[in-house]
C-alpha cells in the first residue's frame, strides 16, 4: 500500500502526482484523480439562494497533527472498503486566490470502479471529517464559510459499508 498524505502551503503538480500513482505498481489498471479549486464565489449553508458575492481571497486553517491523523483514518477506511493500490491526498492551507488548487485526491487500483468510488468517498469524508476551516475575504472583510447540509448528505451515502 502506497499512501501519500500531505498538508502544505505550496501548490501541487497534478501531472506529477498522476505519474507517481501510475508508476506505483504494474498491477495498476486505473487512476482517478480529483482536484478542487478556489471558486470566485462561495455558496452559503442554504444552497444556491445564499451565494456570497465574488471573493478576493480564501484562507484555509487546519489543526496540525489532528488533520493528518484524521486523513490517515479516512484513507484507511477507503483501503478497507475497496481494492486500492495507492492513494494520494494533498490539501493546501494558508492564503489562496480564485482558480488556485486546494485539494487533490488520487486513487490507483486494478479496476476503475474501485478508483472512482474510493475517490468520491475520500472527498466526501474529507469534507465533513477533516479539521480544515475556510474563510473568505470580500471587500477586505473576513467571513468564515458555513458548513453545507449537502456535504453531510453526500457523505451519508457511504455510512453503510455494505451498500457501496
Amino acid at each position: 500500500m502506497a499512501d501519500r498524505i500531505r498538508i502544505q502551503e505550496q501548490d501541487f503538480d497534478l501531472a506529477e502526482e498522476y505519474q507517481l500513482l501510475r508508476q506505483t505498481d504494474s498491477a495498476v489498471g486505473a487512476v482517478v484523480t480529483f482536484s478542487g479549486l478556489v471558486r470566485d464565489f462561495e455558496v452559503g449553508a442554504e444552497g444556491a439562494d445564499s451565494v456570497v458575492n465574488s471573493i478576493d481571497s480564501l484562507s484555509l486553517q487546519h489543526y496540525p497533527g489532528m488533520t493528518e491523523s484524521l486523513l490517515e483514518k479516512i484513507v484507511e477506511q477507503a483501503n478497507q472498503r475497496w481494492n486500492l493500490i495507492a492513494t494520494t491526498v494533498i490539501h493546501r492551507v494558508g492564503d489562496l486566490a480564485p482558480k488556485d488548487q486546494i485539494v487533490l485526491v488520487g486513487v490507483a487500483s486494478q479496476h476503475r470502479a474501485d478508483a472512482f468510488e474510493a475517490a468520491q468517498f475520500l472527498m466526501d469524508y474529507l469534507k465533513i471529517h477533516a479539521t480544515f476551516w475556510k474563510s473568505v475575504k470580500r471587500n477586505g472583510e473576513q467571513q468564515w464559510i458555513e458548513s453545507k447540509v449537502s456535504d453531510q448528505q453526500a457523505a451519508a451515502r457511504w455510512d453503510n459499508p455494505d451498500e457501496k
Binding site: G36, L60, Q61, H62, Y63, G65, M66, S69, H91, I102, V103, M123, L126, K127, I128, H129, A130, T131, F132, W133, K134, S135, W144, I145, E146, S147, D151
Partner: protein, 79 residues
Amino acid sequence: MINVLFFGRLGDFATQVPSTIEASTPAEIRELLAADFPELVRELNQPQVLVSVNKMIVGWDQPLFDGGEVAFLPPVTGG
C-alpha cells in the same frame, strides 16, 4: 494547566481567552468562560461544536490531565 485552542469562527470570539486554563473537563472550561466570554460560550453551546482532547474527538465530560490540549472545533469546511 490545560492548553486551550479555538478553531474557525470560534477563534474570533476567543482572542482574549488565556491560552492555558485550570479545569478537569472540557465542560468545566466552558463553564469557567461563561462569565467573561458570553458570546464565545453561546457559540460553544451550538450542538455541532465538537471538542477534542490531545487531538482525539471526545465527550464534554472527558477527564483532563495537566499539560493536556483541549480544542473546540466548529463544523469543518475543507475540501
